[in-house]
């Protein structure tokens, strides 16, 4: 079983869930809480994991919403206390993974989630947290190796807690769990993985190991995402896409750029993150080209773009995997754009975009993408 261990310990291969029981034991969990969502349960993935983990018998919470909420967290904490849990397993996409981090945090530190908002409390407020295991069921966000959890508080505000202490103690990446993911979701999550490689590679932050991982993630996703979308049962494509997503998550410490700076405020309109990224990324590449020519040329070579400009190449890829190319098709209206543009310019991810971008620049990008 390939074991990858930088900050995270990652078991990665077909059948990796067979290693879950061993990780539970290694971390000293006797009564884990498993956080997942209804989609994962309905797809039969939850049952497969519960079968694999015997004789352990996790307490299951399957109410995670697409953008995780403090209400889910409170429900989980009630289960945690009522059932005597001592560790948490996330099974799903970014939402259960974020929720599990919040559970591990409150179970060990007490208080409320807002107490740990990185903007007010900083990262130092968070010490070692309760043990956690992350099991992604899609190949996209790379949240399984993340250090942050973003949740919607009861009053509607968003709150982010960030700490290296919240990195999952073990990650189990089993491409088997993604074989049944439908084409549309494969495309919309996979383009996010590709974008992590592309945007971190172009970001202004200096981090050559992350850049090396980023370029490889982008190349891997460019090659295998169309295959995984067209042939969901193609095991090699699923393995490669799960690896691209993992590597895309590992390189996020090099920061991102303008596409994510716009996707953040747009996401609050309850639009799917990856779908937004697929629409925005080509426009950002065209915008950045004159300011990150060398990085974009290197990416183009690694991704097999040939003589096609990278923005065109990604735009073609987005079309080929069946994703929309217009914000308007998601219901975004022109009069919403100025506020989105203003917030994108203020987003911390905008600062590492290779071409400085003002609110006016973002408005131009958003109008072209509308």
């Amino acid at each position: 079983m390939p074991l990858i261990q930088y900050l995270s310990r990652i078991l990665f291969d077909f059948g990796a869930v067979a290693g879950l029981a061993g990780e539970i034991d290694r971390l000293g969990m006797t009564r884990p809480l498993l956080a997942t969502d209804e989609g994962v349960a309905e797809a039969g993935i939850l049952q497969r994991v519960l079968d694999a983990v015997r004789p352990h018998d996790p307490v299951v919470y399957d109410g995670t919403t697409e953008n995780p909420t403090e209400q889910s967290l409170l429900d989980c904490m009630e289960l945690w206390r009522g059932r005597g849990c001592d560790g948490v397993i996330a099974l799903g996409g970014g939402s259960p993974i974020d929720l599990a981090k919040a559970v591990a945090l409150l179970a060990s530190h007490g208080g409320e989630l807002a107490d740990y908002n990185v903007k007010t409390a900083g990262m130092e407020a968070i010490g070692p947290v309760a043990p956690q295991i992350a099991i992604p069921t899609a190949a996209g966000t790379g949240a399984e190796v993340g250090r942050a959890c973003v949740m919607t508080l009861l009053d509607g505000r968003k709150s982010a807690a960030v700490s290296l202490n919240m990195v999952a103690d073990a990650v189990i990446c089993d491409p088997e769990l993604t074989l049944s993911l439908p084409p549309r979701l494969t495309a919309a999550t996979g383009i996010d993985a590709l974008s992590h490689g592309v945007e971190t590679y172009c970001s202004t932050w200096v981090n050559p190991p992350a850049a090396a991982i980023a370029r490889d993630a982008a190349a891997r996703a460019a090659r295998w995402l169309p295959v995984a979308v067209a042939e969901g049962q193609n095991r090699e494509a699923r393995w490669e896409m799960m690896m691209a997503a993992l590597m895309g998550g590992m390189c996020l410490q090099k920061s991102l750029g303008a596409a994510h700076a716009m996707a953040n405020p747009l996401g609050e309109l309850h639009l799917h993150h990856g779908t937004l990224i697929g629409i925005l990324l080509p426009h950002v590449l065209w915008f950045n080209e004159a300011h990150a020519g060398e990085a974009i040329a290197e990416l183009g070579e690694a991704m097999g773009a040939g003589k096609v400009p990278l923005g065109d190449f990604v735009s073609n890829l987005v079309a080929r995997i069946g994703l929309p190319d217009r914000l308007g098709s998601l219901g975004v209206k022109g009069d919403q754009l100025p506020e989105i543009a203003a917030r994108a310019a203020e987003d911390h991810l905008s600062a590492s975009n290779p071409r400085p971008a003002s609110a006016e620049d973002y408005l131009g990008l958003l109008k072209r993408a509308l």
Copy 2:
């Protein structure tokens, strides 16, 4: 200041030693022990670091030998106890870095080094150790991000202790410290960094993030090592070589291959590790070519070998940087080779070489390299 953080926290740039005092404070050290060697002290590097770290006033041990010994460890432990130390700083190459790990281990766990031999005690015997900071003064081994310490016991045997808990809590990579490294040592350490990229990339272990880092390390070293050797004051070349060495250390978790399997037993003849690697690596590449054709071709492209076979390219590079190409020139005799070959075949690094290699194969390689 670029901050790189996978398993290690790395401050990397010209002037990074200015961050040492902050790391000492962050780790709660009040009286650090600084382990280094006479060469580092004579080159004025020790004084530069002591100046940078004020008002901290580390207790200095400068008696580290080229292959660190248990006697050095006992001397350090006496200083540790006598002077009330509470953390350790390694300043130098692989030897002080290994020594510091052993100090951190015994200071926190007690007992003797042999108690923690990975072959008898395993990795589980080692819990969290005393705080450590590693500051490399050459661009080569990548030991600054390592998890092992290898030392010669009082009775002459070697003992290796290995644990993720022994990874340094902070690494400070300041290329400024390498500007005065003479050409021969620049070459002999730098070729080790290059070899880490090459051998890990070709190894049979599956670890794509490590492979991505490895390829980049090999490419970086191929481009910049000849420059750093020819122009020691070239700051860009020194930065790039220190980065290549760091990345070479990060990818070691993908294991190595036949060149290191032979360099290990040859090293016990007190021959310089990097010099050995420079002699052995071309022979290993010629030997592996038919079994790792794709990986070697990808490396060749990344390293700028053009149409030249990679073994020839590395052999030419070794000559160009002034390193010897014959084991005989180091005093190795033909009648020593059978035992070296037998031990290379038993070395754990041989198992991940892309072409299985028997003692007979190693004997052939060693004879060609003699």
